[in-house]
Amino acid sequence: MTRCLCLVQQDQTPEAKRAQLQQGLQRFSEGAFGQAADITWISVPAGSGFTAAAPSTSSIVSFTADQPIEQDERVSLLGELCDLWMQETGCSLAEIVAVISDPRAV
């Protein structure tokens, strides 16, 4: 199972929207990695998120693959992930940070 961490601004991503995102992220994980994702949501409390020292509207979605992936494939998947996030949330590309990590060496 892949792992996915979503850091979102509390006042930007209501619970109903989160359910849709969750489904989309599971579809993405199954398509990208061939398996479901263990998704963790963390809400940044209102007034507690800053980007460039100003109130933040950024979301961070971070997958950890279960095996190393080629960079060309990673870039393609990162683009897909950003598209998914924009479609489901209505946010702009500038408001998404997408990460796809290889498993870390222990």
């Binding site: 800053f50 980007t51 460039a52 950003c82 990590s101």
Partner: protein, 139 residues
């Protein structure tokens, strides 16, 4: 990226201190690394189980692009601890900070894979040119 997450016990960093610390985090990171402020995210939490305090009062965790020197990372950690101390009053020995390296090639921000350290200016120029072209095509 970088993403700095500051977790602390409830009530010790008030709402007035957060923007000041975020401002310092942004300034310090940019001064030390030369990165543009647009990349710097600072998020604050209270008693968040995902970022364990392990008996400390505040824990600052920075996920930064790989390629920084040990001296740069040490300066980031020390100056950010001092900022939290100065704006919150938390004793310095109750504030822990650390960073972890994340390869730039793993991260997409604004639709582009992030540049390696030192290549930010060229990346920003290309990124802004791309946005301008897309804006023009869409108008």
């Amino acid at each position: 990226m970088p993403l700095y997450v500051c977790n602390s016990t409830k009530g010790v960093i008030d709402d007035g201190a957060k923007p000041k610390i975020a401002d310092d985090i942004t300034r310090i990171h940019c001064e030390v690394t030369g990165a543009p402020p647009e990349f710097v995210h600072a998020f604050f939490f209270e008693d968040a189980s995902h970022f364990p305090l392990d008996g400390n009062t505040a824990f600052l965790f920075g996920s930064i692009r790989g390629g920084r020197t040990d001296a740069q990372k040490a300066r980031i950690v020390e100056e950010m601890r001092q900022s939290i101390h100065a704006h919150s009053g938390i004793p310095l020995d109750e504030i822990v900070a650390t960073t972890v390296d994340t390869p730039a090639s793993w991260v997409m921000e604004g639709g582009d894979v992030l540049p390696e350290p030192g290549e930010e200016a060229a990346w920003l120029a290309a990124h802004e040119a791309k946005l301008a072209a897309e804006s023009q095509a869409g108008s």
